[in-house]
């Protein structure tokens, strides 16, 4: 798998919009995915970032300066993976409370606990790697890489006559 991009942000709510922006723009430029799949991934990443930030606890505003969330994007020929990692206390993803059914009036008492179910539904595959040292949420979407233009060459040779020589050649320069 090829590492595409790494983004590190402070564990603070105001930065999640940037994480979404980065992920959706990298994905739309790299993968041949329909818009709604990109929206799905964007939401899943946002949920994972929210949990990562909340993992640092309620005192964040005071002492959260050094606490960070790291977003890693990788891909290969068949899939793209986004990994959201924090250094919070960790949790057991297999031992989460469940909600009453939506038809139960009690359902209204639960404003939270929707993030992980959403992630599980929105991406093709998700893996939670969690320990007391931190959590990593690895989300995978399958789909083809975008047919990129053949790698463009540029000319790092600096000052030169350029590609518009008088010969009228219509191929790219010497780069």
């Amino acid at each position: 798998m090829e590492m595409i991009l790494e983004l590190e942000i402070p564990a603070s709510p105001e930065y999640i919009a940037i994480a979404r922006l980065v992920v959706s723009s990298i994905v739309s430029s790299r993968r041949n995915l329909p818009d709604d799949r990109i929206d799905d991934l964007k939401l899943a990443v946002s949920e994972a970032c929210t949990n990562a930030i909340e993992a640092y606890g309620p005192n964040l505003a005071e002492d959260g300066a050094g606490e960070r969330v790291r977003i890693l994007v990788q891909d290969d020929d068949e899939k793209l993976e986004v990994d959201v990692a924090d250094s919070g206390p960790g949790f057991d993803p297999d031992d989460l409370p469940t909600h009453p059914p939506v038809t139960d009036p009690e359902r209204l008492n639960f404003e939270r606990g929707l993030g992980i179910p959403l992630i599980r539904t929105l991406v093709d595959d998700v893996q939670f790697v969690s320990s007391p040292g931190g959590t990593s949420v690895r989300m995978t979407v399958y789909g083809e890489p975008l047919e990129l233009h053949p790698p463009e060459e540029f000319e790092p040779e600096g000052f030169g006559p350029g590609d518009f020589g008088p010969e009228g050649t219509d191929v790219e320069g010497s780069g």
Binding site: P13, A17, K42, L43, S46, E54, L108, L114, P117
Partner: protein
């Protein structure tokens, strides 16, 4: 990245709260504050218009669930206006389409 929150009282007995922008853990507290404020002003029939919302996550859902609960406890209600597929999808996945009345337009929501 700020949340737009516009209150419109021109459909009595309903108060329409039009939300604009991205609702996430950063902006959702402002939505909640605004709902709390409306309820404390005695506005118990609220229509939240989500047509201007570009993004809504579980934090936003939680605020809407909390708002609905609060209004019900005052014999009020919270209806939604939403036609955008990507926003509707979040309600569908979480089963909340069964909890909220979701309308196609403010007019439809106010004609109940």
């Amino acid at each position: 990245m700020d949340l737009g929150l516009a209150v419109d009282d021109s459909h009595p007995p309903y108060t329409v709260l039009a939300v604009k922008g991205e609702v996430d853990v950063y902006t959702a507290p402002r939505l909640r504050e605004k709902l709390v404020e409306l309820v404390s002003q005695g506005k118990h029939q609220i229509i939240v218009d989500l047509e201007g919302v570009d993004f809504l996550d579980s934090t936003g859902l939680g605020v809407l669930v909390g708002g609905l609960k609060r209004l019900r406890s005052h014999d009020g209600d919270l209806g939604l206006v939403c036609t955008q597929q990507r926003i509707l999808k979040v309600f569908e996945i979480t089963g909340l389409t069964k909890v909220f009345a979701i309308h196609d337009s403010v007019e439809a929501a106010a004609a109940r």
